[in-house]
């Protein structure tokens, strides 16, 4: 039996004094892919931010264990160093900071945390070029500032590249498909799959079923009103595609 990676028990959280997450439960075991689907405004991004510890997102009750450790006690960077990665829905621009040194810095922060030796520039450049090629990101793009002037698809591919370099235990993909054309979606899907190991897990947050054609989930959860209201297998995603979320939203109301 595989070990639990992430265990969320009765999680409640608020943003700007408004409760968004209301009794959320989920366990992700090693090797599993979970998809969370839900309508706009269901609080899907809030969930990913709460798990990553973004300032301003306050957990009011509940428990979250990551690899058996209390995740909620950790700082944002500690969670990342423990192996939690968030592919962001709208990655922010950081002018002046080019991708290459940024990512090298990030990787070496993780390695230092794990007690591994620093990766030197030569080795890192080799890795970066290799992974970049798989995601159709050429060397010129990797010289640019983070997300500055990137199209939606480029920004999402860059998020995937970071995942490929950092190799997280658990990656949360927050709408990795938004603003992405069909070719880029395939590239991203392949990129994400290439990072999977029997020990790692994936939490895919999405509106649409499309991405799940590439990243096939073991479980699909319908998320609305701050909690999971239904769980099924990949067929549930296809069903949702046909029927929409109205049934679940009504139930909530």
């Amino acid at each position: 039996m595989s070990k639990p990676l992430l265990e969320i028990e009765d999680l409640h959280a608020k943003v700007e004094n408004k409760e968004i997450i209301k009794g959320f439960n989920l366990t992700i075991n090693e090797g599993e892919v979970h998809a969370i689907m839900g309508p706009n405004g269901a609080g899907k991004s809030t969930l990913s931010y709460v798990l990553c510890g973004k300032p301003g997102y306050e957990v009011t009750s509940g428990r979250v264990l990551f690899k058996g450790k209390d995740l909620l006690q950790m700082s944002v960077e500690e969670r990342a160093r423990e192996g939690l990665f968030l592919s962001m829905q709208k990655p922010v621009e950081i002018p002046g900071v080019s991708i290459t040194p940024f990512l090298k810095h990030a990787l070496n922060s993780l390695r230092a945390y794990r007690g591994e030796k620093e990766m030197d520039t030569v080795e890192f450049m080799k890795l970066l070029r290799e992974e970049g090629r798989k995601l159709n990101l050429n060397a010129d793009m990797l010289k640019r500032s983070i997300n500055v002037g990137f199209s939606g698809g480029e920004a999402k591919r860059l998020e995937t590249l970071q995942m490929a370099i950092l190799r997280p235990c658990l990656a949360i993909l927050d709408e990795a498909d938004s603003g992405v054309d069909i070719d880029a979606m395939r590239i991203i899907g392949e990129g994400v799959n290439a990072c999977r190991t029997p020990q790692s897990g994936l939490l895919v947050i999405t509106h649409y079923q499309r991405l799940l054609n590439y990243i096939v989930p073991d479980f699909v959860h319908v998320y609305t009103g701050g909690k999971i209201v239904k769980t099924g297998n990949k067929d549930l995603a296809e069903e949702l595609e046909r029927t929409g979320y109205s049934e679940f939203v009504k139930e909530q109301a």
């Binding site: 944002v76 990342a80 922010v92 940024f102 922060s109 983070i146 970071q162």
Partner: protein, 484 residues
């Protein structure tokens, strides 16, 4: 009160003695505080200066007394009592620390981070005299010999006054006259020492000239005077300053740097300024009122100012270029970083006079903590400056919600064919950016340093290599504690 009176009396007595030609060798630490014509005579005499220079000093002093301290800059500081200052060779303070144990712990931490050897730390903190530590006399001599071969003069201004009076007399005060401004006038009256550089015709200086190789130039920070003359077809790159924060008992600094650039010559002047900024409340920091100006007198002459400023409690500084020669070119690349309670009012002036003159201004201001920073710049094209070109880019970066940043560009054109461009941006390191970096495992402090270094990269690249590495380190250290 009575103490002050006594001191003034002593000053008068010393002056009298001088008048009668009876002068004992006055110890540095017996020159009293305060400023009057006699004090200036003492300074001049102690330095063994010629009469013409004394007369210049006295003339400046007389004029200074009619001037008022300027207050147009966006700076707030306690009134300066000019009579309470000592104007000669910074007499050894009784309060000087006897060992590093007595030195501010924060300062020592910074030295450690910069990787400064213990001996040098002692010198910087004022525990021992600088020349007792920098056993680089032989190094200096080696370089001196190499320079001499090429006819390059690189010495203290005092030495130059004695050895090369014609050159000094010809150029000193020709770029910044004593009437220029209050602080320049004060400097003209009381300057103690500084640097003189002369690059002869057609000579390309084979090394970066740095004050480091001229050990006796240290400890002259208070009223420093620098004069650089680049003769026709010559080139020199000059480095001023030091990345290590230097403690200085003298709170007021009023330096002058004059650069003369003749036909087809080029001067690169790089500065790293890191005078003591005071404690977290801004107490005890240096007031830095500097006049730096370059005159591009020759055709095709070029001057480039590059500066990284992280020190001082109060900075008032506008390195300028007067572009007289046709096709001459002026550049100003600046990174100014203020933290805690620091204040900086800084920028540049580009005065276009000759035809086809061009200038470029890249200014990067970073404010953190409770600091306040103003970019103040003037770009002026005279009627004679046909086809003058200027490009100005002025970016400000704010860290936190309690600092301030202001931009005051003055643009004046009297010439129809001049093209003057100004671009400015203000940005803030956003919570989103910090979250993004931290989510990738990078700590908040490292994230800020990455963003800041990215922000000023364009300017840092203009610094000579080894200086740039030190300056980047310095910026990181100066940012510490800005997270909040």
């Amino acid at each position: 009160m009575t103490d002050t009176k006594n001191e003034i009396q002593i000053a008068d007595e010393s002056g009298d003695k001088y008048k009668y030609g009876f002068v004992t060798d006055i110890e540095a630490d017996t020159v009293p505080t305060g400023l009057n014509a006699d004090i200036i005579r003492i300074i001049s005499h102690k330095k063994g200066e010629p009469e013409w220079l004394l007369q210049k000093r006295l003339q400046a002093f007389e004029f200074w007394q009619t001037m008022k301290e300027p207050h147009w800059a966006k700076l707030k500081y306690d009134a300066i009592d000019y009579q309470a200052l000592a104007y000669y060779s910074a007499p050894k303070q009784k309060t000087a620390p006897k060992s590093l144990d007595e030195v501010d712990k924060e300062l020592l931490k910074t030295y450690e981070k910069l990787g400064i050897p213990l001996k040098e730390q002692e010198a910087l903190a004022g525990v021992v005299a600088v020349d007792a530590v920098f056993d680089s006399v032989s190094v200096a001599t080696t370089y001196q010999a190499q320079l001499k071969e090429k006819g390059i003069i690189f010495c203290s201004i005092s030495e130059a006054i004695k050895e090369y009076p014609d050159l000094v007399q010809k150029y000193l005060g020709s770029v910044v006259p004593y009437t220029d401004n209050f602080f320049a006038c004060l400097n003209s009256a009381v300057f103690t020492d500084g640097t003189f550089v002369y690059i002869p015709k057609g000579v390309r200086c084979p090394m970066e000239l740095s004050t480091y190789f001229r050990i006796n130039s240290r400890n002259t920070g208070q009223f420093e005077r620098t004069l650089i003359v680049a003769d026709d077809d010559s080139y020199v790159s000059y480095l001023e300053g030091c990345t290590a924060p230097q403690r200085d008992e003298n709170q007021l600094h009023a330096a002058i740097v004059e650069i003369v650039v003749l036909n087809n010559a080029e001067v690169k002047y790089s500065t790293v300024q890191n005078w003591y900024p005071g404690d977290k409340e801004g107490k005890g920091g240096v007031y830095n009122f500097v006049t730096k100006r370059a005159a591009c007198r020759g055709v095709n002459s070029k001057v480039s100012w590059t500066q990284v400023e992280t020190g001082s409690a109060v900075t008032w500084k506008y390195p300028s270029c007067v572009l007289q020669g046709d096709n001459s070119c002026g550049e100003f690349y600046s990174v100014a970083l203020t933290n805690n309670r620091q204040q900086a009012d800084t920028g540049t002036k580009m005065i276009h006079i000759g035809k086809n003159t061009s200038s470029r201004i890249i200014s990067k201001g970073i404010s953190a903590g409770f600091s306040n920073q103003t970019y103040r710049g003037l770009v002026k094209a005279a009627a004679s400056a046909a086809n003058a070109r200027n490009y100005t880019r002025c970016d400000s970066l704010l860290i936190g919600a309690t600092c301030g940043s202001h931009t005051v560009p003055y643009i004046e054109s009297r010439c129809k064919t001049a093209q003057l461009e100004h671009e400015a941006t203000t940005s803030k390191i956003s919570d989103e950016q910090l979250f993004y970096c931290r989510q990738r495992g990078i700590s908040e402090e490292e994230a800020i340093s990455l963003i800041v270094n990215g922000f000023c990269k364009e300017v840092m690249q203009k610094l000579p290599m080894e200086f740039a590495i030190e300056a980047a380190k310095l910026i990181n250290i100066s940012l510490e504690g800005s997270v909040g």
